[in-house]
């Protein structure tokens, strides 16, 4: 097992290096001189030239590209992603400040989606070829086709504008006002969860069907165990393992969706921060945020792979025997 972990870790390093190069390249290729942007109009006037040169030197913009990359990488690894072009606040600080909101949203979304999709998928599998199965799968097929941001708007239309039950937007930290926070998180979370529920349900149905036809389930039936015991005690514990891999993949789509949904609902998370930075051409923030997300995503996939290898007895067999 240890060997597998090490091997997987070694695969990440080259990916991280290339990711960092890509993000850095995006930075360099963006139009406009960063120093000029910070100084604004001042820089274009002749008196401002000296200040511009000084700032450029401070920012290391007069060095060769590869030196700039190395300096940037060195700082990034230490957590220094530079400062916002607009506010001057360190990027890391800005991101850290908005992180709890995004984490809360993603966690709630995940919880909702797993709690709903797993039973739904199992049900569809066991009641295959019945109206129930067809209905569930129809919803699931539709669910993956719905554009998230539009669903958010539609939910706002229904629950805020028409019914007035829930606030249309806003974020209050959980610690500050749990009740208000809950009313604000529910719609964005459901919006994001719909796609995940649809995807996981479809997967669980086919996964469960496969598991139920396996030999060891036949053995379990031959032992005289009840259906409930077999489904929960035998089938599910095997069926949930591949689901882990699917979850790992879909976390990526969740990251993307979060950015848009946070904006729709005015939820002050990292996603909305990134979007605002894009609008404001605040490149250090954009690059810092995206770099962090990419790094985190590779780590998540790493843990998913290792977790899967650990749980899947056949893979364990290969590495332990």
């Amino acid at each position: 097992m240890g060997r597998y972990v090490v091997r997987r870790l070694l695969q990440i390093i080259p990916a991280w290096i290339i990711i960092s190069i890509m993000v850095f390249a995006a930075m360099r290729l963006a139009p406009g001189d960063p120093a000029m942007m910070i100084l604004g109009k001042e820089a274009s006037r002749p008196e401002g030239k000296a200040a511009l040169e000084k700032l450029r030197h401070e920012m290391g913009l007069d060095q060769p590209v590869y030196v700039q990359y190395w300096l940037w990488l060195r700082s990034a690894v230490r957590g220094d992603f530079g400062k916002s072009n607009i506010s001057g606040t360190p990027v890391l600080e800005m991101i850290a400040g908005r992180l709890p909101a995004s984490l809360e949203l993603m966690l709630v979304t995940f919880l909702i989606s797993l709690v709903i999709s797993i039973p739904l998928g199992v049900l569809a599998a066991l009641k295959q070829k019945t109206m129930l199965d067809y209905s569930i799968m129809a919803f699931a097929t539709a669910g993956v086709a719905i554009p998230g941001f539009w669903l958010g708007l539609a939910l706002i239309l229904l629950f805020s504008v028409t019914l007035g039950w829930l606030p249309a937007s806003g974020y209050t930290p959980l610690a500050e006002d749990p009740a208000r926070n809950l009313t604000q998180v529910i719609m964005p979370a459901i919006t994001l969860a719909v796609y995940l529920i649809a995807t996981f349900t479809r997967f669980m149905r086919s996964d469960m069907t496969e598991v139920v036809n396996e030999d060891y389930i036949r053995t379990a039936v031959a032992k005289g165990l009840s259906k409930g015991r077999i489904v929960i005690g035998h089938a599910l514990r095997n069926a949930l393992i591949p689901l882990l891999t699917v979850i790992g993949v879909e976390v990526g789509s969740l990251f993307g969706g979060v950015a848009v949904i946070e904006q729709v609902f005015g939820w002050s998370g990292v996603g909305w921060l990134t979007l605002q930075a894009v609008y404001n051409r605040d490149y250090p923030v954009v690059q810092g945020a995206i770099l962090m997300v990419a790094v985190v995503y590779t780590l998540i996939n790493f843990f998913v792979d290792v977790g899967y290898a650990f749980l899947n007895p056949r893979i364990r067999e290969q590495y332990e025997a």
């Binding site: 139009p31 086709a145 998230g148 941001f149 539009w150 990526g252 789509s253 979007l275 990419a294």
Partner: protein
């Protein structure tokens, strides 16, 4: 009803979903090619006195804040949506296939180098990478196509590479080589045709994803720029009138949903059609 009629009706009903999906997709292509035929008004024509009207006989899906017919704008918007959807996938396929062929066939260092880069691209959540590229190079139709294509290249490269690696040791490939074919012929005439199945499936599903991404980017103002209508950028404005013109918000979303659903279904069915045949290969 006679038995023969019953059986024929049943068979026809079974084929109905395919016909419907094919029909809608064809309608979308047609609208993209000849919007003037399907739309009722030019997309930029304004009727300020009729601004924000609900659906009626005059304006089938109502009007927007400038009094433009929403139905017509949706039809005109089909062009850029299809363009982005098909264009980005086609580009990704054109770049991804050669990469995958090279990596899978020659293996070794070339394979490692190509695949490490593909892995890195795959490490970015799709939307965020497109966002990064748009943020760097600016928002335009071309950049939307390029960024989605960029994000999709690794997926096709991986697919092709997998197929190549599985097929290159098969007997018919060795037989072709013995007959004197050089690497190029081998790759394109012997191996690639058999790898096309999964590629077509992925491409169809990819069009659906491309439509969703374009819609999202346009909604954020980072995709197709006005005045070119796209379903996504229509929603960007629609959200400001959510309380007084709900039809404005609902119809573009339904369009997106329909288009994505059609390509998803088509892709799923293609996958089912291809699968059993693959097993006998």
């Amino acid at each position: 009803m006679s038995k023969l009629r019953k059986v024929t009706l049943k068979r026809a009903l079974e084929k109905a979903p395919f016909v419907i999906v094919a029909g809608v997709i064809l309608f979308l292509f047609f609208s993209a090619a000849f919007p003037e035929v399907v739309a009722r008004y030019p997309h930029a024509e304004q009727h300020p006195e009729d601004a924000l009207q609900p659906p009626s006989a005059k304006y089938w899906l109502g009007t927007d804040q400038f009094g433009r017919d929403i139905y017509s704008r949706l039809i005109h918007g089909t062009r850029v949506v299809i363009l982005v959807g098909l264009g980005s996938v086609a580009l990704a396929v054109l770049i991804g296939i050669p990469l995958g062929l090279l990596a899978g066939y020659y293996g070794g260092l070339l394979d490692a180098a190509i695949m490490r880069i593909q892995d890195a691209i795959l490490s970015f959540p799709v939307v965020l990478l497109a966002l990064l590229i748009i943020a760097t190079f600016g928002a335009s139709t071309l950049n939307v196509i390029l960024s989605i294509a960029f994000v999709y290249v690794p997926r096709f490269a991986r697919l092709v590479r997998g197929s190549v690696m599985a097929l290159k040791d098969r007997e018919y490939v060795l037989a072709t080589r013995v007959a004197g074919a050089d690497d190029g012929r081998l790759l394109f005439l012997a191996i690639l045709p058999n790898a096309m199945g999964p590629i077509v499936v992925q491409a169809t599903l990819g069009v659906a994803v491309a439509i969703l991404i374009e819609a999202g980017l346009s909604y954020l103002g980072l995709g197709i720029q006005p005045p070119t209508p796209s379903w996504g950028n229509m929603l960007q404005h629609a959200k400001n009138y959510i309380s007084n013109a709900p039809w404005y918000v609902l119809s573009p979303g339904v369009m997106i949903f329909l288009a994505v659903l059609m390509f998803n279904l088509a892709g799923d069915w293609l996958r089912e059609a291809i699968d059993p045949r693959l097993r006998t290969l």
